[in-house]
């Protein structure tokens, strides 16, 4: 230990290199995905030369664009709904006085994680059909909201557990009503966990195959359902192309959001 160096807790030797390695692990497949989007061969894994033809194919393919659009819409709705429900639920579980039913509530919330997907998929479909609900996208939004709840709830609950109640108690002395307390104290403190939960809910919804496959009806095919349907005839680089477009769009959106955030701070 060189005693002369000032101690900086933010810097752990080797950690940057380690994190960089993990990011290589995250991004190696992605790099390949983008490169192969420009492959002129019909086969996803055999390189045959550079070409834009799969982007042209996406532009001319209504089905794949509709599927991508359905997926994004469902993911947005399911994320908003499940995060709102989960925030309330987490507050109740950590801050509330549940005299009975705590174990039941814990079990119920973990349920969508635990029950095998195919079973959820089939029973949900039978349930909707039994009720005569054939609403395609709306059915999918409901089903997705259900399985997104635990992904949104668990990080919020963990954060609440860490926070303890001291700040809120101090706040309670200042603000009389609970709503203002929530808006001014609890919500800002919870925000990192709420956004982590929302991101996970979004990603899980966007990627879901089995439940979407069963619950979707005519006209509500999602991108994963479309992609899995390619397995018999062979997955083509068209999927790489639409994935690349999706990546680019999300990067542009987030970059814009960050820039706007920065400008507001300096204005």
């Amino acid at each position: 230990m060189t005693g002369a160096k000032p101690f900086d807790w933010r810097h752990t030797p080797g950690l940057s290199a380690y994190t960089a390695l993990i990011f290589v692990f995250f991004y190696a497949p992605l790099l390949i995905l983008v490169i192969y989007a420009f492959n002129s061969s019909r086969l996803v894994t055999v390189w045959a030369g550079f070409s834009f033809k799969w982007f042209v194919a996406v532009a001319n393919n209504n089905s794949i664009r509709d599927a991508a659009f359905n997926s994004v819409i469902i993911a947005i709705v399911a994320t908003i709904a499940s995060t709102a429900i989960a925030t309330a639920g987490a507050l109740a579980l950590e801050r509330g006085r549940l005299r009975f039913g705590r174990s039941a509530a814990t079990a119920l919330i973990a349920m969508p994680l635990v029950v095998p997907e195919i079973v959820v998929a089939i029973t949900t479909l039978i349930f909707f059909s039994g009720l005569g609900m054939h609403h395609g996208l709306i059915n999918l939004m409901i089903a997705h909201t259900v399985f997104c709840i635990p992904f949104a709830l668990l990080p919020i609950q963990a954060r609440l557990r860490d926070m303890g109640g001291t700040l809120e108690e101090a706040g309670r002395d200042l603000y009389a009503d609970e709503w203002r307390l929530f808006r001014r104290v609890t919500l800002p403190l919870l925000l990192p966990a709420i956004s982590a939960g929302a991101i996970m809910a979004f990603v899980v919804s966007l990627d879901d195959f089995l439940i979407s496959m069963m619950v979707s009806s005519a006209g509500s095919t999602t991108l994963p359902v479309y992609i899995y349907g390619m397995m018999r005839l062979g997955v083509t680089p068209e999927v790489n192309a639409i994935s690349t477009i999706l990546l680019a769009v999300s990067i542009v959106f987030v970059a814009a959001a960050l820039l706007v955030g920065r400008r507001n701070r300096f204005a």
């Binding site: 086969l43 055999v46 039978i126 069963m214 018999r232 005839l233 997955v235």
Partner: protein
């Protein structure tokens, strides 16, 4: 004040979205909703159908016969026509998931090749019209494997140098049906002695098998990951176009045949349009567009003449006349359970 305004605009937005969704969900009279595998419907053919009839076509997709069956038997509705493999047709019919459309009485039925007019899974063409068909055997890279290729023996009892170089399908029924052809036994077998033989054959083959997987076969063959792979005829043709040394084998024991069929689910909202589509498909010129797109044989006489010679005249498309083709029927419960047991133990 602002708070409830925000809330109100939120509700308004939600209502607008809901409204938009419900309107698109309402079927108008000129629609046809097809349920099929992805990339298995020719765009050109659909455009021709839309131009001729004025019906607007939408396509939804599924990933396998099995999930399509589970989905429809759980009450999914809204599809006007669906494509399904021969061994699943009797199941759908018995479960009352298809409606009778009497395809045999349609004007274009006369175009169906006589040998396909009485298909064992739909003998009187009451429910279905042929889509495309093909055979299942195996393809082998002759640049690597120099041995004889007249039999299923190299696939099921491979020479030592092919250890870890063989690929098989990922679906139990397709693996078992080809294995039963090799053993010369009946399909859908529930005879204990035959099943033990089948079990022993697949267990002995396992050390040679690199993967049990039905997708990405062309890729594995072209990359040289597998030298030998259980394969469909059309995909074998696609492989050969990438790597000319890959040969599709017509073994002396015979091959397994399959046909995908077009049927009308009993819950179809637009039955008349569905029937128009079925009749449209039995025109050789129309089905040729589909063949061109997917690269499989059709059951409509004279459609091959609309195809390019290197496809229409390819060995993959024209099996030898004396080839024994057995179409796998849908098996009874006893055989399914036995297959299931063999398959689970093989992969335990």
């Amino acid at each position: 004040m602002t708070k409830w305004k925000e809330g109100l605009s939120g509700i308004a937005l939600a209502t607008a979205i809901m409204g938009a969704i419900t309107t698109t969900a309402l079927a108008d009279a000129g629609e046809l909703r097809i349920y099929n595998w992805t990339d298995y419907t020719s765009d050109e053919m659909i455009k021709k159908f839309e131009a001729e009839t004025g019906v607007k076509v939408t396509i939804d997709t599924y990933d396998s016969n099995e999930t399509a069956l589970a989905k429809l038997s759980s009450g999914a509705a809204g599809y006007d026509v669906m494509i399904i493999s021969n061994d699943f047709v009797p199941i759908f019919v018995k479960q009352k998931l298809f409606q009778e459309v009497d395809a045999g009485a349609m004007p274009n039925f006369k175009n169906v090749d006589p040998k396909w007019q009485h298909r064992s899974w739909d003998p009187d063409a009451k429910y279905t019209v042929p889509w495309v068909w093909g055979t299942t055997s195996y393809s082998v890279d002759t640049a690597v494997y120099k041995g004889p290729t007249d039999s299923l023996k190299p696939l099921f009892d491979p020479p030592a140098e092919l250890k870890g170089k063989v690929g098989m399908f990922g679906s139990p029924t397709e693996v078992m049906s080809l294995a039963l052809v090799y053993l010369g036994k009946d399909q859908c077998n529930s005879n204990p002695a035959d099943l033990k033989e089948l079990d022993a054959l697949l267990e002995a083959q396992k050390p040679f098998v690199k993967v049990y997987n039905s997708d990405g076969i062309v890729e594995r063959q072209v990359a040289g990951e597998t030298v030998m792979h259980e394969q469909w005829s059309g995909k074998a043709l696609a492989t050969r176009q990438q790597k000319s040394t890959v040969k599709y084998v017509y073994p002396k024991e015979g091959v397994v045949g399959w046909m995908d069929n077009v049927a009308v689910p009993s819950t179809a909202p637009n039955v008349e349009n569905a029937k128009k589509f079925l009749n449209f498909l039995m025109d050789p010129e129309n089905i040729a567009l589909q063949q061109k797109y997917t690269g499989y044989q059709s059951a409509i006489a004279g459609s091959n003449k609309y195809l390019a010679a290197d496809i229409g005249g390819s060995p993959e498309f024209n099996p030898p006349a004396d080839l024994k083709i057995s179409f796998a029927p849908s098996c009874d419960e006893k055989a399914i359970r036995a297959y299931d047991r063999i398959w689970t133990n093989l992969r335990q």
